[in-house]
């Protein structure tokens, strides 16, 4: 059988149309599927999050028990040099973290109110997207942005990507700078990045995160923000809450009651 060039092109074109038709039909059948990226699919799953009640937190002036509990549980070194500091949960002045919400008339005492900040365990974590080795990832079962220190090569892309500064880099061996070693948790080594993991090791034992447990004012509340019956959801239903730089689209899961 002889085939002309014209006929060949016609048949090829028909084949292409037929192939793409299958995809078009699939989208027409289920129009939601095309747009159901992380946002809607993620809502059905468990997503751990935390509420920081700044009013309760402010009651205990000068209290840093959450930070101390975290530091002790996770072998976090203490450095005087701010460039070397390792921070999982730390304090920042209120107007630093919510600068876009403040008015010029806000009292200085409120502006400088120390407020606890930590990794936001984002719905759409930019740190995960940039990690070249898969050393940080979002756990599908509970939404924790986890870290595998074995796999971290210390490129610090994640630190550049995180808009919250929630990640710290070990410029030197941290071990000599740890006040009291906790043998149940590894230290880190020089050249890796670290951050809050929502105490995944404690959650596995059915415990709450160390900071939540240590807070004397019960200002930190932890739970599944996708479960309408959870305590965090009950609280969020009743009060206005702020999230740090939510406008960036990262979907932070730390809520601040003000």
């Amino acid at each position: 059988m002889k085939i002309t060039r014209k006929e060949f092109l016609k048949i090829s074109g028909a084949c292409l149309v037929a192939l793409s038709g299958k995809e078009v039909l699939a989208v027409l059948d289920n129009p939601a599927e095309g747009q159901s990226s992380s946002s809607s699919a993620g809502k059905a799953r468990k997503q751990l999050g935390m509420i920081v009640d700044t009013r309760k937190c402010a009651k205990a002036e000068g209290c840093t028990k959450c930070i101390q509990a975290c530091n002790a549980a996770h072998n976090i070194p203490s450095f005087q040099d701010p460039d070397h500091q390792i921070k999982w949960i730390w304090e920042k002045p209120f107007d630093d973290i919510f600068s876009s919400y403040e008015t010029q008339y806000l009292d200085a005492s409120l502006k400088e109110e120390p407020t606890p900040v930590l990794c936001n365990h984002c719905d759409n974590p930019p740190c995960v997207r940039v990690c070249p080795t898969g050393a940080t990832w979002k756990r599908p079962e509970d939404g924790i942005v986890m870290m595998d220190w074995h796999r971290c090569i210390g490129c610090r892309y994640c630190m550049a990507a995180c808009p919250y500064g929630a990640r710290s880099f070990n410029w030197v061996d941290p071990r000599p700078h740890i006040e009291r070693l906790n043998p149940d948790f590894p230290t880190r080594t020089k050249g890796v990045v670290e951050k809050c993991t929502f105490c995944s090791e404690r959650l596995a034992n059915g415990q709450l995160p160390a900071c939540v447990e240590a807070c004397p004012e019960k200002a930190l509340v932890f739970g599944d923000v996708n479960d309408p019956k959870s305590e965090v959801r009950q609280m969020l239903a009743k009060s206005y809450a702020l999230r740090r730089r939510a406008e960036l689209g990262t979907g932070p899961n730390i809520y601040y009651l003000i």
Binding site: D148, L181, P183, D184
Partner: protein, 131 residues
């Protein structure tokens, strides 16, 4: 053939130098003497049979690491049905000493000591240094 003596002497010297490490160890009696590992007194059975642990403990450790860190699984069901926490410091080092067990054997066989201990801690050592 005038240099016969020199050639043979040179060859002998060369052979002597090349085989020196073997002679030295034979005379000093240090060869074939593996470290006498002290087995833990409080346990009779490791998480896997001895022969498997001897040859493949590194594979087991990698598997544990993957399960705990990547998959969030913390329990290990051993071949005899016993359940263990997959923890290097909390489970392995409860019976074995890092210095006396891991490091000694690794040194003997000339295998680079793995970098486990750059991060993971030996509870016994922590206790000693805290005192």
């Amino acid at each position: 053939m005038r240099d016969k003596v020199w050639i043979i002497a040179g060859l002998l010297l060369f052979l002597g130098l090349v085989t020196y490490p073997a002679w030295h160890d034979l005379v000093a009696g240090t060869t074939a003497k593996p470290p006498q590992l002290v087995l833990p007194a409080n346990q009779k059975q490791c998480v896997a049979p001895l022969s498997y642990m001897r040859t493949s403990h590194m594979k087991l450790l990698l598997q544990w690491r993957r399960s705990v860190v990547r998959d969030g699984q913390t329990k290990y069901v051993a071949f005899d049905g016993k359940v263990y926490n997959m923890k290097l410091s909390g489970t392995c080092l409860r019976c074995h000493s890092q210095q006396e067990f891991c490091t000694r054997c690794h040194n003997y066989v000339g295998v680079r000591t793995p970098y486990c201990w750059n991060c993971h801690l030996d509870p016994a050592q922590v206790k000693r240094s805290a005192r």
